[in-house]
Structure formats: structure tokens, C-alpha cells
């Protein structure tokens, strides 16, 4: 199956997964490349969202051929959980970033290697 | 049960010193004089109790009297209380003519040694506690009727002695204490092996009912008694029961063990070595000079006066009665070691320059008489199969133990008296003490003459009885043992000359020599008095001792010779005029041979 045919097909689980994967990879790359702590945080959010897309997609009865084996609302619930978690995490992370700024006068993550082994 | 009933009184005698140790332990520290007084008071009370024990009692006095029944050969006042029943271990005590004199000696010497301890001023509290514990151990050994209990007391006495030498001793005290401890422990281990071997081969069910009754066993043990021959064997540690087993005709101890030798042969050998270490006999004697040289004076007195006697006591109480056949087989070994000790100790004593070492070697020599006297198996056809000579030897050996207990304790004390004044013991640096300390010299001469075996003093009786009994066992040993008296005279007189005689004192601290004090005289004078009393009236000891010792000899003779043995019956020794049968009667008998006559039913 060529990439083009893939695009021409109706939206299926695979498409969601590709979106999720792209989001995930973008997030990873963002985390790995951004030196700004906020950037990194954004990368984290991307990764979380990529994962959340996957969950939603897998739990959707419309997208799955074996719908009679549905997992019910589990996927949705976990997605909701991820969103909440992301929010909480963002709050904590921002607090950390503030503290970090207080001590280092910057939020460049490369500057802080106190946790080096 | 009153205070004088045997279980109470005997236990009281054994454990009162331990109670005293506890009391001293509870007293506030720092009051040295008080500790000594309390310890002395306890030893005095124990001595009084043992004296009560020795008072001749009436035969029908009942169970509440613990007085000694004179003329009784059997174990007296014996009792047995369960202790560790699962292993047939009982708390069994008792006394007889063999142990009582030694118990008296122990309690008496403890009082004197405690009196001699007044000069101790280092860690007095600990000293008094250990001293009293030592006394408990010693008295326990002499009273125990259970082999295990005997062993426990044996070890109990060891530890205080170790500390008493190791803490309060002279410059090389650690070496001496460890040497003492190791030698004695080695002996103890051998004893333990023999103890277990005897225990696991014993069986009460093989005893006859009379023997069972004579063994003073606990009633639960008697209830389990089942002579049918099918019952499980009932092991025992009871020394009397073990003795009955050893002397019986089909003794379980006669089974072969290793090297073609029986269990009792090995048990005898192990026990003998264990006890000879304590005696001490050559060649396991070298702990003694070191221990004596380093030990403080009162501990030397106890060591020489009592501890050495335990070896002899063990031999006569355990080795001989329990293993009679082995004793017969190994009598040559016992006697030879005894004679070697006598000669060797005397020679070694002559070469010493340290006063205490000399006395220590003289102990080796004198205890050799004990070993020799115990060893001589002087029953033979040449004297009509009577045990009389053997009885004389064994009684002499036992007497020698008492005599040596008095004379050696006295000698060590006297050495201590002069050591306290001049702080050295070098024999070549004395001299002229006669003029400076006349009373001391007089007492010393008496005590040393007692050791020399001068008639009229205690040493003579033991030595002469032992030596006279040897001839019928071995003529060579007899001659050698007689020659020792030349050597003894040599080293003792030479010592007296170097220490007491001469124009002046030659050593250091001459200005500190002062006459003997009242306290010292109060310790030395009783020893000299006993040396004289026992030398002039030895029956004071023999009246107690002889029946038990004679019974032992008769038992052994019976066990060995059966019908041939005729005990104390006066026979053809020629000393008693017999009514000779008329000559023609003799001639008549000669016609018919005796053997055939006896063979007919």
C-alpha cells in the first residue's frame, strides 16, 4: 500500500494512530531540542496528547472492526485522566520552573545539572 | 527434716560458701576489712558444720542425724535428688571414711587460708567471692556421688582458681594461670570421655537388688528397675552403682573396645591421666611449680593442701572401684609413675633456688607416695592372699594425703611469711633467720621435719606405711622408693641450712625482718599441732578412714580373685601361732591327693 492510497482511504484507526505518532514524535523532539524549560513542558504536553489520541482511537467503537469486543469507556476515561494529569503536571512543572528560575536566574534546562550522578 | 538431717546439712556445707560469696557480692564496695571478715566467718561456719559431721554418732540415731558412724565402711548419709532426669543426672551427695577426712581438711585449711588472706589488698571483694566459690567446688567434689555432679564441681573449682592465680599472682601470673588451666582442662576432657563411655555402657537393670539398695539411688529410678533382662538398659551416673557394675562378674565394662582392650581399661587410663594431672605426677606436673610460684600464699596453701588431693581422691573413689580389672592390669603403670614422681620430684627440688619452687617440687615428690600407695596391688599367694599389705599401702596413701595437706600448706604459708617481709624467695639470699625470728624458725623446723618424714610427725606414718607395703608388689620399686628418703633429707636439710641457719641474713630488705605476728602464729601453730597429733596418734584419721578403705580393698580383691581372696582373715603369714594338726593327721591327708578330693561331688 502506497502512501497516497493511504491518504485516499476513509479515515480509520490507522490515521488516528499516525496523528498520535506524529504528535508523540514532535513532543519527543521538542523535549530533546528545546533548552527552554517551558518548551520542554510543551513537548511533554504534545507527548501526552499523542498518547491520549491513541487511547481515544483505540476505544472508539466506530473505528474498530472487532467492535463487539469493545473496551467500553476505559479508553475515554484514561484520556480524561491524562488530560487532568497534564493539567496538574503543568502546574507542578511551572512551579518547578519558577523555583528553578529563582535559583538559576534562567530557565535553560542545560544550566541545571545538579542531579548529575 | 531438720537442720541436721543429711540432705540439708550436706547441702549446707557445700553451698554455704557460695551463699557467702553472694552475700559479699551484695555488700557495698570499698569495705575491704568487712569482706574478709564475712568470708572468714563463712569458712568458720562451714568448718564448724564439718566438725559436727565428724562427731561420732550413734548407730540408731535415725535419719535426722548426720553425725559420722565410726566403723561403718559404707557410704553414709547418702541421698539423691533429681536434677536433670532426662539424662539420669541426680544431685547425689554422701560421705564415707575416705571423703570425710578430706572434707575436714578442706574446711580446716580454708579457714587458715582465709586467715592468711589478710594481706591481700587488691580487689578484695572479688578475691573473697572467688575464694568462697572455690571452697564450694572443693567440698562438692569430695561429697558428690553422681559422676556428672562430680564433674561439674570439678570444673566449678577450676575457674576461681584460674582467676585467683591470674589476678592476684606474681609477675608471671598469666602464664602460670593459663598453664594451670590448660593442663587441668586437658585432664578434664579425658575424664569427660571416660564418663560418657561408662555412662552409655552402664545398666542399672543388671544390678542385684542388694547392690541397688546399696547404691542410694532415687526412688523413681528404683521403680523403673527391671531385672528381667528384656527391659531397655537404664544408664546411670551414680558412682556407687557404677562401682557395683565394674566389680560384678559379667561387668558391661569388660566388653572390648579398641586395640584389644576393654572399656574399663580405656576408661581407667583416661581417668587416671585426668587425675594424675591434678596429683600431679611426672610427667604432667610442670604446671605445679609455676602455679605455686605465682599464686599468692593462701592460694598456694589451698592448691597444695586440697587441690592436689582431688587427684588422689578421684583415683581411689572412681578409678579403682569402677575399673578393678583394669586397675589390676595397669597397677604397674600407677606404681611406676608414683615412684618416678617421688624420685624425680626429689631431684628437681634439690636443684631449685626459688624457695616456693622447691616446696612445690617437694609436693610432687610427696604426692608420688600417694600414687604409689594407691597403686600397689599387694595381694599375692606369698602372703596367703590377704589384702593386708595392700590395705596398709592404701591407708598409708590416704594418710599421706592428709599429712601432706598439713605439711605442704604449712610450708607454703611459712614461705609466704618470709616473702612478705623481704620480698624475695631466692634460697641463696637467706640465712640467719634463726636469730632474727626464733619462733618462726622453730615452727618452720617442725613443719619441714614433718615433710622430711621424721617419726612423731605426720609425714612419717604415711611414708613408712606406703613404702613397707610396696615390697610385696615389686621389690625394685620398693628399693627405689626407700632410697627417696635420702634425697628428701638432702634437700630439706640443705634448705633449712640455707634459710634459717648461718651467722646473718644475706639478702635485701634485711631491716624489714620482724618476728612472726600473732595472726601468722595463729595460722602456723594449728598446722604444726596437727602435724604432731597425727604423727603421734594417727588413729585419729585411721579410725575414720580404715573401714572404708579396707572395704574397698576387700571388694577389689573379691572382684579379682573371687574365692581365692580371703580378705582380712589372718592366714599363714606366720605371725600368729596356729594350732598345727598332729603329724600323723598330716600324713594321712597326704595319702589322698587334694585335687581329686575336691573334684568329687
Amino acid at each position: 500500500m502506497s502512501f497516497l492510497s493511504f491518504l485516499s482511504q476513509p479515515v480509520s484507526l490507522s490515521h488516528y494512530l499516525i496523528v498520535g505518532a506524529v504528535l508523540f514524535v514532535c513532543g519527543i523532539v521538542c523535549m530533546a531540542t528545546k533548552r527552554n524549560a517551558i518548551g520542554v513542558l510543551m513537548g511533554v504536553e504534545l507527548v501526552l496528547n499523542g498518547a491520549a489520541v491513541n487511547f481515544v482511537a483505540f476505544s472508539s467503537p466506530f473505528l474498530r472492526a472487532d467492535s463487539q469486543l469493545s473496551l467500553g469507556l476505559d479508553g475515554h476515561l484514561i484520556t480524561l485522566f491524562i488530560i487532568v494529569l497534564a493539567a496538574a503536571e503543568a502546574a507542578v512543572a511551572l512551579a518547578i520552573a519558577l523555583c528553578y528560575y529563582n535559583t538559576h536566574a534562567t530557565i535553560d534546562v542545560d544550566e541545571g545539572d545538579e542531579l548529575k550522578g | 527434716m531438720t537442720l541436721t538431717s543429711p540432705p540439708i546439712l550436706l547441702s549446707l556445707i557445700v553451698f554455704l560458701p557460695a551463699v557467702g560469696a553472694l552475700v559479699i557480692g551484695l555488700l557495698p564496695k570499698g569495705r575491704d576489712e568487712l569482706f574478709k571478715q564475712v568470708a572468714l566467718a563463712f569458712t568458720l561456719v562451714v568448718a564448724a558444720l564439718t566438725l559436727y559431721l565428724a562427731l561420732p554418732g550413734q548407730p540408731g540415731a535415725g535419719a535426722d542425724s548426720a553425725r559420722f558412724l565410726l566403723g561403718t565402711a559404707q557410704m553414709q548419709h547418702a541421698f539423691s535428688i533429681p536434677w536433670i532426669e532426662s539424662f539420669n543426672i541426680y544431685y547425689a551427695l554422701g560421705i564415707d571414711g575416705i571423703s570425710l577426712p578430706l572434707i575436714l581438711l578442706t574446711s580446716f585449711l580454708s579457714v587458715l587460708a582465709m586467715g592468711a588472706s589478710w594481706t591481700i589488698d587488691k580487689h578484695v571483694k572479688a578475691y573473697c567471692i572467688l575464694f568462697l566459690l572455690l571452697e564450694t567446688g572443693m567440698l562438692g567434689v569430695f561429697m558428690a556421688l553422681d559422676f556428672f555432679l562430680f564433674y561439674v564441681f570439678w570444673e566449678v573449682m577450676l575457674l576461681p582458681m584460674y582467676f585467683l592465680i591470674g589476678v592476684w599472682g606474681g609477675p608471671r601470673r598469666e602464664y602460670a594461670a593459663i598453664k594451670f588451666f590448660l593442663f587441668t582442662m586437658a585432664g578434664s576432657v579425658l575424664m569427660l570421655v571416660a564418663l560418657l563411655a561408662l555412662y552409655f555402657n552402664s545398666d542399672l537393670n543388671q544390678l542385684g537388688p542388694a547392690q541397688l539398695a546399696a547404691s542410694h539411688l532415687h526412688e523413681t529410678v528404683v521403680e523403673r528397675y527391671d531385672p528381667s533382662g528384656t527391659a531397655e538398659p537404664q544408664h546411670t551416673f551414680n558412682l556407687l552403682a557404677l562401682a557395683h557394675q565394674g566389680q560384678s562378674e559379667n561387668s558391661p565394662f569388660s566388653q572390648l573396645l579398641v586395640g584389644g582392650k576393654s572399656i574399663q581399661w580405656w576408661a581407667f587410663l583416661l581417668l587416671l591421666i585426668g587425675f594424675l594431672v591434678k596429683v600431679p605426677a611426672v610427667p604432667v606436673h610442670t604446671w605445679l611449680p609455676d602455679a605455686h610460684v605465682e599464686a599468692p600464699t593462701p592460694i598456694s596453701m589451698i592448691l597444695a593442701g586440697v587441690l592436689l588431693k582431688m587427684g588422689g581422691y578421684g583415683i581411689i573413689r572412681i578409678c579403682y572401684p569402677v575399673c578393678p580389672d583394669a586397675a589390676y592390669e595397669l597397677a604397674w603403670l600407677v606404681c611406676t609413675l608414683g615412684v618416678i614422681s617421688m624420685v624425680y620430684g626429689a631431684f628437681a627440688a634439690m636443684a631449685q633456688t626459688d624457695f616456693k619452687r622447691l616446696v612445690a617440687y617437694s609436693s610432687v615428690s610427696h604426692m608420688g607416695y600417694v600414687v604409689l600407695g594407691l597403686g600397689v596391688w599387694s595381694i599375692s599367694g606369698s602372703t596367703g592372699m590377704t589384702g593386708d599389705y595392700w590395705k596398709m599401702g592404701m591407708n598409708g596413701a590416704m594418710f599421706q594425703m592428709i599429712a601432706h595437706g598439713i605439711s605442704s600448706a604449712g610450708m607454703f604459708f611459712l614461705v609466704g611469711v618470709i616473702y612478705e617481709r623481704v620480698h624475695h624467695r631466692n634460697l641463696d639470699d637467706f640465712g640467719g633467720l634463726f636469730g632474727r625470728m626464733p619462733v618462726y624458725t622453730g615452727v618452720s623446723m617442725g613443719i619441714f621435719f614433718a615433710a622430711l618424714g621424721l617419726p612423731g610427725l605426720c609425714g612419717f606414718i604415711g611414708e613408712i606405711l606406703v613404702v613397707l607395703s610396696v615390697w610385696n608388689y615389686s621389690q625394685v620399686l620398693a628399693v627405689i622408693s626407700a632410697s627417696v628418703m635420702i634425697l628428701t633429707a638432702g634437700y630439706i636439710l640443705w634448705t633449712l641450712q640455707r634459710v634459717y641457719l648461718g651467722p646473718e641474713y644475706k639478702g635485701p630488705h634485711g631491716d624489714e625482718i620482724r618476728p612472726i605476728t600473732q595472726r601468722e602464729l595463729a595460722i602456723a601453730a594449728p598446722l604444726l599441732a596437727f602435724a604432731i597429733i597425727l604423727g603421734v596418734y594417727p588413729k585419729a584419721v585411721f579410725n575414720y578412714m580404715a573401714p572404708s578403705v579396707n572395704k574397698l580393698v576387700d571388694d577389689l580383691g573379691q572382684a579379682r580373685y573371687g574365692n581365692d581372696y580371703s580378705g582380712g582373715i589372718e592366714k599363714q603369714t606366720g605371725s600368729v601361732e596356729r594350732i598345727e594338726p598332729a603329724e600323723n593327721e598330716l600324713a594321712l591327708r597326704e595319702i589322698s591327693p587334694h585335687r581329686e578330693e575336691a573334684g568329687q561331688p
Partner: protein, 811 residues
């Protein structure tokens, strides 16, 4: 009261009184008057009462057993002339010896039992016969005289004494407190011991008191304890005696082991039975009191046979019967005889020590270090004679071989000691060697069968030798020196001493007029006793030439005796003073000293006289052991001496010859002494130069001391050093070595623990630590690296899983 109860009681009292005196002085000595001088009265009183009691006892004895003149000897002479006829001899014997005649049976009994085991017992008992009583009187008499004498001699000890012979390092003479009471304390103990020895009823009791007199001798020789020489001499005396006692113990062991008794005589028991003593076992009445080997000794010698008989026969009664017959067979082949000989030699060994016989004579001259009264009492009159007394007492047990040994030892002793006495210059040493020599005579006589002669000489010698010693003490007291070359001419200063001493010299030389022209011989006590000894020796020599030399040596000894005794007297009392200082200060001793001299001189003259109702030879004849009157015809196993009966020596012709020989020899000795020392016709110095090697040999006492020093003392000390070294170097090293071995093993254990087990445990720890250290490098602290690593790792894990799964699928 009966004699059998009265005599033991009297003697018991007489015996114990000195002990009471000793005890009193021990406890109250210094408090008895000023400087304890009343102790002397206590001791003298005690021994004086003892003397009275023993005289009483002797009187009682003589009342019951009056002396019969020894004519029965002559009646026997006929019998012994015809030894081929045994029946004749036997009948003769039964008539006279055991029950009738002059032999009074001894009183025996036990006072006290020390210990008993079955049939064996050690007792304190008595054996009282004429010999016992005679000795008792003699000892207490001389002791009383010497106690009195000591008041004078020891009076210095009442004050502080300056002892010039003690040598403290400061060089100044030592000043010490006096020890008057101590002297008498020891003397009382000695009297008690000596009387106990005399009265002893068994040989074990003899041994007990033998040792006690030995220790008294030790204490008194070493009385001047500050002098090294005195204490050394005391040690020497005691130890040399112990050498003899060693032999005695062996003898005791044999006799006791075999016979089961120590008693001399038969002792009646309280239950009516009679315990047989040694004498009646060795010389049973059934055998006419002739020596046989007793059953016990045969059984002992054949012990293994006895054992096998017991083992082979079921009942003891039968075994005993069989043994009885076997013993009779064995007796015929001489089994056990050597044990009898050995026992006799052993007992004699003790006597050799006590009586200073060759080869144990070396202690007696040194014993002169003691105060002179001690030398007189102990080392001349009584204790040293105890050996002779015991030989006499034990005479029935000695086999012929033993008697021969005794004779030879006595002969050697008398000659050796006499020769040494010639050159000695110390007045007491001359007397000491003379004592040794005279004791040799006694032993010699006893050994040759002259039982009565030997003991007779014991008595007479006791008197004149005590006298001589006391005289020498008087001289020393006056001159403060022992050296005869310092003296001379003293007879003018000390007449009592000089003339009494002359009596002593005459007595010891045997001065007298031999029988001639039908008159009986007459002389001082020594004349009789020495003559009877020589007569016995001559009688032996005339019977068998083998032993002839013994007589010639003894006769020669008599000449030497006379020579050195008069040499002593001339050097001391005659001539002119050699040292004027000494002479000027000399003075006659006080009455307390010369009165005893006079008394003893009296006895030295009359002790040998044959008064009809009281004389020593007849008294001794009463005590003659049963069965010995006929001499020795019992052939031994090794030697076969034929010792003739003693009464043969009384025969007129033989006795006259001997008297003249003795007279001649004594006169010769006297004459030489006169030539050398009185008239000074010959100069002793020149003779000394002529015979220089001989003189050196004699002045060194035949080198006995040196010989013993190298042969016995040094090896013994060496051996003792070896024993001590063996202890230190071998046994201790073994013990220490085994301890060190254990320590080494422990160290090894420690090393293994530390370097193997610990190393392994620590190594693992350290490895983990290292890995941790290495791994921590991953922990950079760089957030972004972490992210990349997580991502990469996740992918890598994913890939790994895929690869693994594929690999598994393709398998």
C-alpha cells in the same frame, strides 16, 4: 607387783620423763629463771629420776634373776667338742638353754598401737631383758653425769655469747643471745629418744627412735648454728645416716613383708593369743633355736609358685596345705635364704650408718662441731653405740654371711679409723676416730660370734670414752682451742682433768696385768672387754686359718690405739707449754665439771670387774639370744664360716696367750708414744718427713671425703640439675610448644579468615561499588539527554523484542 608389770611401768616412766622435760622447756624455756638457767635443773632432774628408776628396775630384775657365774659355758665345751653327734648336742641344749640355766626370758609387750591393718600392726612396745636394763642404766647414768657437766661447760650460754668461729661478712665476731635452755631442751629430747631406742620392743620402733636420735644429733651438732661448718656437719651426719637407714628400710620391708611382724619377741595379745615375733620365727623352738629360713621368706621368694597354687586349687584351706608341703621342699633347696641374708645386711646397713662404720664413718669426726658434752654423750657413749646395740639385739636373725660381713666391716673400720687418729691434731677428732675404731672392735667381735664380748666392750667403752671426751671438753673449756700443738704441760694447771684422763687412756688401751704365776689377770675395764674380743678373734683364727688375718689386724689396732691415746695425753698434759698464752689462761674447771669426771673414771676402772653378784659379763650372758651360745655351725649359701662358741675363748690356754698378745701390743703402742712424745728420743717431725706421702694420705683421712664428694655428692647435685633442666627444657618446652602450636594454628586460622573469606566478601562489595560508579556516568543531569535516551531506549527495546520474536519464530 609382778615383775612383768612392774618393769615395763618403771621403764616407761623413766623413758617418758625426759620427754616431759623437753616439752616443758619448749614452752617455758626462756622463762625458767634468768636466761632460762633453770631449764638445766629440769632436764637434769628428769634424767636423774630416770637413772633412779632404771636402777630400781635393774635391781628388781636381779632380785628375780640373780646372776649365775658363767660356768655353764664350760659345761657346753664338752658338747661342742663333739659336733659329730647331733643327738648329744640336742639333749644338752634342751636341758640348759631355753628354760633353765641363766637365760632369763625377756619381757615383751605393747604399750601403744600406732596403726593396724588386719594382722599387721605398728606398735610402740618393749622388749626387756638384761641387755635392755643394762643399756638403760648405762645411758641414764652417763646422761646424768653429762647433764651435770654441762652446767659448767655451757655456762657461757647464760650470757650473750661472742662466737669467734661464726664469720659474718662484716668481719666482726658475732654476738648472739645465749641458748642455755635450748641445749638442755635438745638433750632431754635426745635422752627420751635414746631410751626409747633401748627399750624398743620391735624393729619399727627402733627405726622410729633411730630417726629421732638422728634428728637430736642433727640439732646438737648444729648447736652453734651460726657456724657454717657446724650446720654442714649436722647435715652430713643426718644424710649419711639416712643412707644407712635406706638399707635398714629395705631390711624392714623384707622382714615385714614376709613375716608380718616387727616384734623381736612373742607378744601376748589381749585376746589370749600369742603373736610370734621375728626371733621365734627365725629360730623356732622346734629347731632348737637354730637359724632356719622362716615360711614367710620362702613364700616370698617363691611368690609365683604360691600364686599358681592358689589359682589351681578351689579352696583356700587346701591351697594352704599344699603350700605348707611345698615350703618344706623349698626350704631344703635353700629358697628364700638370700632374702634372709639381704634382710640382715639391710638392718646392718642402718647400724653401719649409726655406728659410723666403714664406709659411712665419715660423718662422725665432723660431728665434733657440736659442744663437747654432746660429743661425749651422743657421739661416743650412746647414740653411735646404738648400731652395735641393734646388731646385738638382732643377732638371732643374722645369717653367717651377714656375720662375716659385719666382722669384715668392723675390722676395716677399726684399722682405718685408728690410722687416721695417729695424725689428727684436733683433740676431739683424735677421740672421734678412736670412737670409730672402738665401734669397729665391737662390730668385729659381734661378727665373729663374740656376742657378749662385743656388747661388753660397748659398755666399758661408753664409760671411758665419755670420760675422755669430757676431759677433752674440760681442756677445751680451759684453753679455748682444740688444737693439741697449742697445749702441753697442762697437768699442773688442771690436775683433776689430767689424772682422770689418764685413767681413760689406760682403760681404752686395755691396761692390765695378764694372768701369770697362777694369779688371775687384773686391769681396768678396757682390759677385760678388749681381751675378750681378741680372744674370740683368736679362737676363730685358731679354728680356720682363712680368717686369721682378722685377728692380726685387730691386735695391730690395739697397738695403734695405745699409741694415739698416749700421744694425745702426752701432747696435752706432759712436757712444757707450747703456747704460753694458752697455758697462762688455762685453769682447772669448776666442780660441776670434774665431779662427773671422777664418777666416770670410777666406772671406767671398775666396769669390767667380775664381782660375784653384779658384773657385766654375767648380766649380758643372761640376755644371750637363744640358740647362739653354740656358735655358728650352720653353713651359709655363699660362705661357710665356722664361728666357734664364745665360751671357747674363755679356755685357760687360749685366753692366756691372747692376754699376753694384747698386753704386748698395748705396751708397744705405749712405748712408741713415750719415745716420741714424752722422752722425745725420736722427733715426730723427722718421721713425718720420711713418710710424707703416707702422712698426707692419713691427714686427708684416706681421702674418703673427697671420694664421696666426687662419687656421690656431685653426681647427685648434677642429677638434680639435670632433672630440673629436664623440666624446664623438655617437659615445659613440650607443654609450651604444644600451646605455641595451638597459637600458630589459631594465627593461621586468622590469616585464612582475613585474607580469603574476608577478601571474597569485601571483593563482591567493592565490585558492586565500582559498577555503580561506572554507571553513574550515565546520569548526566542533562534533561534533554535523558529524553533522548528514553526515546532511543524505548525504540531499542522495541526493536529488540521484534528481533527476538522473529528469531524465535524462525527457529
Amino acid at each position: 607387783m609382778e615383775l612383768a608389770t612392774l618393769l615395763p611401768l618403771l621403764l616407761l616412766l623413766a623413758w617418758l620423763l625426759p620427754l616431759a622435760s623437753f616439752t616443758l622447756i619448749v614452752f617455758a624455756g626462756p622463762r625458767l629463771g634468768r636466761a632460762g638457767h633453770k631449764a638445766g635443773y629440769v632436764a637434769t632432774g628428769a634424767i636423774g629420776i630416770s637413772l633412779f628408776l632404771s636402777l630400781l628396775a635393774l635391781a628388781c630384775w636381779l632380785w628375780h634373776h640373780p646372776l649365775t657365774p658363767s660356768h655353764h659355758a664350760e659345761t657346753h665345751a664338752a658338747a661342742s667338742d663333739d659336733p659329730a653327734d647331733p643327738t648329744h648336742e640336742r639333749s644338752e641344749h634342751e636341758q640348759s638353754a631355753p628354760h633353765t640355766g641363766s637365760t632369763a626370758s625377756p619381757l615383751t609387750g605393747d604399750w601403744y598401737t600406732l596403726a593396724e591393718f588386719g594382722s599387721l600392726r605398728l606398735t610402740i612396745g618393749y622388749y626387756i631383758d638384761a641387755l635392755t636394763l643394762g643399756m638403760f642404766v648405762m645411758v641414764s647414768l652417763i646422761a646424768t653425769c653429762i647433764h651435770v657437766y654441762s652446767f659448767g661447760y655451757m655456762h657461757e650460754e647464760l650470757e650473750d655469747v661472742t662466737d669467734p668461729l661464726a664469720s659474718p661478712s662484716s668481719g666482726k665476731p658475732l654476738v648472739r643471745a645465749g641458748r642455755f635452755h635450748r641445749f638442755f631442751q635438745y638433750m632431754s629430747l635426745f635422752c627420751f629418744s635414746m631410751l626409747g631406742l633401748v627399750v624398743a620392743g620391735n624393729v619399727a620402733m627402733v627405726f622410729v627412735f633411730w630417726e629421732l636420735v638422728g634428728i637430736c644429733s642433727y640439732l646438737l651438732i648444729g648447736f652453734y648454728i651460726e657456724r657454717k661448718s657446724a650446720s654442714t656437719a649436722a647435715n652430713k651426719a643426718f644424710i649419711v645416716n639416712r643412707v644407712g637407714d635406706f638399707g635398714m628400710i629395705v631390711g624392714l620391708m623384707i622382714l615385714f613383708g614376709a613375716l608380718g611382724t616387727f616384734s623381736f619377741g612373742d607378744v601376748a595379745q589381749s585376746d589370749g593369743t600369742v603373736r610370734k615375733g621375728i626371733f621365734s620365727q627365725v629360730r623356732p623352738a622346734e629347731n632348737e633355736h637354730q637359724l632356719i629360713v622362716p615360711d614367710g621368706l620362702i613364700r616370698m621368694a617363691a611368690a609365683s609358685q604360691m600364686n599358681s597354687i592358689y589359682a589351681s586349687v578351689p579352696s583356700n584351706e587346701e591351697a594352704e596345705e599344699l603350700i605348707g608341703r611345698r615350703v618344706a621342699e623349698l626350704r631344703k633347696v635353700g629358697t628364700g635364704y638370700w632374702l634372709l641374708v639381704l634382710a640382715g645386711l639391710g638392718i646392718f646397713c642402718g647400724c653401719v650408718g649409726k655406728s659410723a662404720q666403714f664406709p659411712l664413718h665419715v660423718w662422725l669426726p665432723d660431728a665434733m662441731e657440736g659442744p663437747t658434752p654432746v660429743s661425749a654423750l651422743i657421739h661416743a657413749a650412746t647414740m653411735v653405740a646404738a648400731g652395735v646395740y641393734l646388731v646385738g639385739r638382732f643377732y638371732p636373725v643374722f645369717a653367717p654371711e651377714v656375720l662375716l660381713t659385719i666382722a669384715c666391716v668392723g675390722c676395716i673400720t677399726l684399722f682405718v679409723a685408728a690410722t687416721i687418729a695417729i695424725t689428727a691434731t684436733d683433740i676431739k677428732r683424735v677421740l672421734a676416730y678412736s670412737t670409730v675404731s672402738q665401734l669397729g672392735y665391737m662390730m668385729f667381735s659381734l661378727g665373729l660370734g663374740g656376742w657378749a664380748a662385743g656388747l661388753f666392750h660397748l659398755f666399758t667403752h661408753a664409760f671411758f670414752k665419755a670420760l675422755l671426751f669430757l676431759c677433752s671438753g674440760s681442756v677445751i673449756h680451759a684453753c679455748h682451742t682444740n688444737e693439741m700443738p697449742e697445749m702441753g704441760g697442762l697437768r699442773k694447771k688442771m690436775p683433776w682433768t689430767a689424772w682422770t684422763m689418764l685413767v681413760g687412756c689406760l682403760a681404752i688401751s686395755g691396761a692390765g696385768i695378764p694372768a701369770m704365776l697362777g694369779m688371775k689377770g687384773f686391769g681396768l675395764s678396757g682390759y677385760y672387754s678388749k681381751d675378750s674380743i681378741l680372744a674370740q678373734a683368736f679362737s676363730v683364727a685358731s679354728q680356720s686359718q682363712t680368717y686369721g688375718w682378722l685377728f692380726y689386724v685387730a691386735a695391730g689396732g690395739a697397738a695403734i690405739t695405745a699409741f694415739y691415746m698416749f700421744r694425745l695425753w702426752f701432747m696435752t698434759f706432759a712436757g712444757s707449754p707450747r703456747n704460753q698464752h694458752v697455758y697462762d689462761h688455762a685453769h682447772e674447771s669448776p666442780a660441776s665439771m670434774y665431779v662427773p669426771l671422777v664418777i666416770l673414771a670410777f666406772f671406767a676402772v671398775v666396769a669390767g670387774w667380775k664381782l660375784p653378784s653384779l658384773n657385766l659379763p654375767d648380766l649380758l650372758e643372761q640376755a644371750r639370744p637363744l640358740g647362739t651360745a653354740e656358735g655358728i655351725s650352720f653353713a651359709g649359701e655363699i660362705a661357710h664360716p665356722e664361728l666357734p662358741a664364745e665360751h671357747r675363748s674363755h679356755e685357760e690356754t687360749l685366753h692366756r696367750t691372747v692376754s699376753w698378745i694384747a698386753f704386748g701390743t698395748a705396751l708397744t703402742g705405749f712405748a712408741i708414744a713415750v719415745l716420741f712424745y714424752l722422752l722425745r728420743i725420736f722427733n715426730p717431725e723427722t718421721v713425718r718427713k720420711w713418710l710424707a706421702p703416707l702422712h698426707a694420705f692419713l691427714i686427708h683421712k684416706w681421702f674418703f671425703d673427697e671420694l664421696y664428694e666426687y662419687a656421690f655428692v656431685k653426681p647427685t647435685l648434677l642429677l638434680s640439675q639435670v632433672a630440673a633442666a629436664f623440666d624446664r627444657l623438655v617437659i615445659d618446652r613440650l607443654a609450651d610448644g604444644s600451646a605455641r602450636f595451638c597459637v600458630t594454628v589459631a594465627r593461621l586460622d586468622d590469616v585464612i579468615d582475613r585474607y580469603v573469606v574476608d577478601w571474597a566478601a569485601n571483593g563482591i562489595g567493592r565490585l558492586t561499588y565500582r559498577i555503580g560508579l561506572w554507571l553513574r556516568q550515565v546520569q548526566t543531569g542533562q534533561l534533554r539527554q535523558y529524553v533522548v535516551m528514553i526515546a532511543v531506549s524505548t525504540v531499542a527495546l522495541f526493536l529488540l523484542i521484534v528481533v527476538c520474536r522473529n528469531l524465535m519464530l524462525f527457529q
